[in-house]
Symmetry: C2
Subunit: 767 residues, 2 copies
């Protein structure tokens, strides 16, 4: 498609609409909020990784002056929760068993946090300690205790992909190779910890202010666990200090604050400490992935067999989804005619896993793209060439039905290579220097379950001011700015005329929220359609006034005029006056909706097409390895991403940079260190996210692709660029280290210790 | 019209939707709200009734630790405000002159209220004191200073009604009588004082939480005075602890809190003290009204001449509107073929006047209906008879164009008389006992300015929960409950399925708010239409599913079914599921609008028809006067009101009772006592609102009238019943005292002192 470039607001690097509020520290986050008569809640946590609860005695805690309520799991309705009813296995407070160190056991509401803390110490819990299971291998051994009753060998769920004739592929293979990779758990570590204020009112209506990415989903879960009608639950998302997937789910604090408010008749605030926020919510899934590929000697992939051991920790959370995504995303962005993958989601007695930027896809891409470099080395093919040879293209349908409606993977590879001067560098790097490449494909608009569609409303005020009401949650990714631009463009006004009200389930129309990279496509289309619906109400009046056809009119620069004749028209304000003085309904309310086609009734099948469309990308990393210290210096990175079209270049740049920041930590420094089930580094001093010193020079490249066969899927063809952008960072870095050292590190992160050990091993072998 | 009585939710005495929150003390009012980093504001007030400001020195105040900002009138944009641009004469803070004791001079923001108070004392103001003018007579004398420059004789504005041939009427009169009445100023005295929190954010967008009856109007005024685009101002109305008209306007605290927030970058709260809330906002207009009537001997009114001296105090406020309403409402509910009224709005150096329950109409009705009883006495006609003889009727058009589309005045008179047994009692009361009657007509849906229309939105959630978004402001009158019932009826669900979001200018669609008894008609119709629009989207789907016509379907009891065959249909939930699985946009959003016909471009003309429709009523009071103490015991009252149709009988009863409470105070005990411009009783101990001991036994009668000529105007024919209900309380009581004592008290309130003095005078005359 030829992208129409004559935009008024789109394609401009406008500052974020929330920038000033945030940088001046004035944005109101949950913990900034105080309510009249508010209580403070705290949660008692399990000191054992695995134990039966014999008894809980809250008598003394309840007696402490200032304590207003104490609850245990037995006080709450007996309702488990989770992403999908099939996989719900978690209580807000444990009823008879604890499953990890930090598991939620009881909760207290008191007049201040200190008293609440003191009360926790007065709760007496008697445990029967069970054997703790801490890795995906021992946990499956026969005779081990069942972490969840009825789950034999502690396998929570499995999914199997079998498409194309894999055996035939291996039969005709000219080269076969098998590798196993392990990507470690990582924390989301947003600056703002998890926080909730709940107010259960006298009409049994519940209002929850919480830093949630998916307010409508939380509404559903609160309704379910607290046995309230959905419409009596209102979830309001204030400013959010980062999410990265970690604020998508419901946690104990949400249910406990709500129930404590019900009991006390007062608002209750619970703010997790940094340690709780890290340990007692979610972390990225550790995955151990084995891939075995059947290749032609020219580098053509014939087929792949794989196994995924995905560790969900104590509870399912989004584990089934993560495993599903890891499984099917083996198929993008490289063509594989035959695939067989067997994936298992496994319980352990560790903190639960959850969605994190790149959710499952990232783990698979690390394995698959590093595996591909090993194959390329075996076959003596340039890693860029082997990728270009196997790259998917517009119109391609993966063997398991994923439909590639538009695709810029080749452009991403080529432009990245050109930017870094790949051909001059690859194979010609100085000693201890390396260059590595990778590619990826990602969901742009997760479309797995029915009604992931989005609605939006646009109010046009009497003075020309425009309000967008959207359920899409601004979590720092810039959605309020993105959606404002889309609306401003459609209405023909500068962005400052648009205000956004987002993420309030009682006010903003249904739009589940921010997950699965769906905002760009789903919420974007809904907002655009709502704005179109609004402006058309005005265009109609102007068309009648000027005796022209609606189709001949354009809206731009606060004016409505005949296309091509900007002087033939009237100001937006005049149009509004005209509209008003015909006594037409004020304000003008435009409504918009977007629903991607739904293809299957059950999302948990490996043959699903999970997205409205797909984004693509390629990354190239340049590293220097210090052979004396083992330290890896990431020098330079190119991040080329198929964004469809850039709505806001500065915002795209921010996402391309931010993804590399998170990916760098993941590849080189971050690790959740666990000993006997206890997290040893649950703080931001010892948990090492990348600092500016670790950051490379980043070159962001936005490739603008959109299909001319079926028309753009996202608004103006826009695709996600905040999540998929992190997917190929890991393999690019690891492949670069492979290029520098000849060693493929298959177990992340690549710490200096590991490098030194491996170099020593290699030199020993070399001698 | 025959009122259809087969309602599902309407016509039922349902408890208020906000009852539990309010009676348990959990409802959040402005002063309950705390914001992070919030400052507290205080206002410095004039100690002089009339003075020029020579200089203001804020140096010392600014130096006080804890003080963050000090502003004077010279800091604010030079913008006057008020109801209508023609009459705007008020600055938030005075610039060069103060005009009453309490006038706003400077404002301080500090970290707490005590420091703010201390800072006020450090502000040095130099005044040049001018002569204070305290009544409508001396203020108009030649040579007196002009309170507002250019307003000769301190007459702010005048309005003249001259319709029909008045001179001819007097020429053929068989009886002529002239009387002068004075109704005193009264305080609104809501329990909750005026309070505002303002937050001026880094994007120059202003959010104001304030207890305002008319959030959209306040948005307009803040935009105007602070030079911000309207759409950058958001006014949010939390719970309101009573309004009665006194929370309709913008006051100094709104502008000062906003500007102090702009200066400091922090939220600023200002809560008026009880004294400020009484003295520095508004009170009811004192009016002195002279009426001269030309009568036939049989009691037929031929014509009336009148003069109104309306005292606006230091500023116009809504003075022109009050005077306009007082002038034209001489014409209802008694037919007057020829009218000439000359009305003057006069400045004094007293606290400003403003709208109060019955706004202007009440003052005129006191004068007119007491005047009518004096005439009836002159002509020896029963007061009930003279009213029945002259009562207006459906289809009547007053001589100045007020169009009576439906009318229950005769039914009100007859039912009230029957209830109290008028014919047995009148003229046969024991000594010192009296019985008095009165009647009234009132606006139901003030329609004076363009775009007093209302919009509303109804969201239908996936689980059948329903949200109404309305700009109508719940101020205690019960609008949230009323509107919920209308929506529930239309949607066929019980009231608990409906939630209301009201009065937030960024979220709720345009609907100016609560004034001029417009909510019942305008907001009611908008809500009903929005609900109809929403349910029709569902009916359409069900009709297709069941292969019937939409018109054949009814919605009731959470079901949609074929009319007359409740078993042929489906539940609302099933209908929603059906709708969803067709992938139609969720949630269903219904939008509704109502605009009464606008007749004239300029409201300030006595020939206007100011309302969508009119309510009517009659009241009868029974009193006992203690000749020894002068104390009047109000024994019993009938309040018969033409409500069109009762949406909620219990709510109607509450309004009928409440109006009599306020009217009783007005007639007998309340008075703003002023000495040399200083209010002497600005507290609720010395300002005597009626207590339960003063309250009579009240009989409420709802007369249900609606026109069968033109169809109902309000939703299902409903009319206002919260404001007009107070209009005839005063004359009924005063006429009853006249019946008991033979003395017509023409100057309110009728205190024991006045009664004793008058009885003494009468006995002297009698001897």
């Amino acid at each position: 498609m030829v992208v129409e470039k004559d935009y008024f607001v789109l394609g401009k690097s406008l500052p974020r609409v929330d920038a000033h509020e945030k940088v001046t520290g004035k944005a109101t986050y949950v913990d900034d909020m105080v309510m009249s008569n508010m209580l403070y809640g705290k949660i008692l946590r399990s000191p054992h990784a695995h134990a039966n609860i014999i008894s809980i005695d809250t008598t003394e805690a309840k007696k402490l002056p200032g304590v207003k309520a104490v609850i245990t799991g037995m006080d709450l309705p007996k309702k488990t929760y989770g992403t999908d009813p099939r996989f719900q296995d978690e209580y807000a407070l444990c009823r008879d068993k604890v499953r990890y160190i930090g598991d939620d056991v009881a909760a207290v509401a008191a007049v201040d946090e200190e008293i609440a803390e003191a009360a926790l110490k007065l709760i007496k819990v008697e445990y029967e300690v069970l054997e703790g299971l801490f890795d995906v291998y021992t946990t499956r051994e026969p005779g081990k205790p069942e972490i969840h009753e009825g789950k034999a060998n502690n396998v929570s769920s499995e999914i199997h992909l079998d498409a194309g004739d894999v055996e035939a592929a291996f039969a005709k293979a000219e080269h076969v190779r098998e590798d196993t990779f392990r990507s470690q758990p990582t924390f989301h570590a947003p600056l703002e910890p998890h926080a909730t204020i709940a107010r259960w009112d006298e009409n049994n209506k519940l209002t929850v202010w919480s830093n949630k990415q998916i307010p409508f989903y939380i509404r559903r879960l609160l309704s379910h666990t607290l046995e309230l009608p959905e419409t009596h639950v209102r979830v309001i998302k204030p400013y959010i200090g980062g999410g990265f997937g970690g604020k998508g789910e419901m946690f104990a604090l949400d249910v406990c604050a709500s129930y404590l408010s019900k009991m006390t008749g007062r608002p209750v605030k619970i703010v997790y400490t940094r340690e709780e926020s890290l340990v007692c919510t979610r972390r990225r899934h550790e995955m151990t992935i084995t891939l075995k590929s059947a290749m032609k000697k020219d580098g053509t992939i014939l087929g792949v067999k794989g196994e995924i051991l995905s560790e969900t920790g104590a509870y399912n959370g989004t584990g089934p989804l993560a495993t599903f995504l890891a499984t099917i995303f083996l198929n993008l962005p490289w063509k594989i005619p035959a695939v067989k993958v067997d994936s298992y989601l496994i319980y352990t007695n560790l903190l639960p896993s959850g969605p994190q930027r790149g959710h499952g896809v990232l783990q698979m891409r690390f394995a698959a793209d590093c595996h591909l470099d090993l194959i390329a080395a075996d076959l003596n093919i340039d890693p860029l060439e082997i990728r270009l040879k196997n790259a998917v293209h517009e119109g391609y349908r993966t063997v398991n039905n994923m439909n590639v409606k538009s695709c810029g993977i080749v452009e991403c590879l080529e432009q990245a290579a050109e930017k870094i001067n790949w051909k001059e560098k690859r194979g010609k790097m100085p000693p201890n220097h390396g260059i590595g490449i990778s590619g990826m494909g990602y969901l742009s608009g997760c479309n797995l379950v029915p009604h992931t569609g989005a609605a939006a409303l646009v109010h046009v005020h009497e003075d020309g001011g425009i309000k967008l009401l959207t359920g899409a949650a601004e979590i720092g990714q810039g959605s309020d700015t993105y959606l404002s631009q889309l609306v401003a463009e459609e209405m023909g006004v500068p962005i400052e005329d648009v205000s956004v009200i987002s993420g309030d389930t009682s006010i903003t129309p249904y739009d589940p929220g921010t997950f699965g990279s769906r905002v760009a496509t789903m919420s974007g289309n809904a907002a655009k359609n709502a704005a179109r619906n609004a402006i058309e109400q005005l265009l109609k009046v102007v068309a009648e006034e000027m005796e022209v056809d609606v189709e001949d009119l354009a809206a731009r620069d606060r004016k409505i005029f005949v296309k091509g004749s900007p002087d033939k028209g009237m100001s937006l304000r005049k149009a509004l006056k005209t509209y008003m003085y015909r006594d037409l309904p004020m304000p003008i309310v435009g409504s918009g909706f977007y629903q991607a086609p739904i293809q299957v009734p059950d999302w948990f099948k490996a043959e699903n097409d999970p997205a409205a469309t797909y984004s693509f990308g390629a990354q190239i990393a340049v590293v220097e390895v210090d052979p004396d210290t083992g330290k890896i210096a990431l020098k330079e990175m190119v991040n080329a991403h198929d964004v469809g079209i850039m709505i806001n270049p500065m915002a795209v740049e921010g996402q391309l940079q931010g993804s590399i920041h998170m990916g760098t930590g993941h590849a080189l420094t971050e690790d959740v260190v666990i000993k006997d089930g206890l997290v040893m580094n649950a703080n931001l001093l010892e948990y090492k996210i990348a600092t500016p010193f670790e950051m490379p020079l980043v070159h962001g490249i936005a490739v603008e692709s959109a299909s001319d066969q079926t028309g753009p899927v996202g608004p103006h063809g826009a695709k996600e660029c905040g999540e998929g952008t992190q997917v190929s960072t890991l393999p690019a870095i690891v492949n670069a280290v492979f290029d520098a050292t000849g060693i493929m590190f298959k177990d992340l992160p690549i710490t200096p210790e590991k490098v030194l050990r491996a170099l020593k091993e290699k030199n020993k072998g070399g001698k």
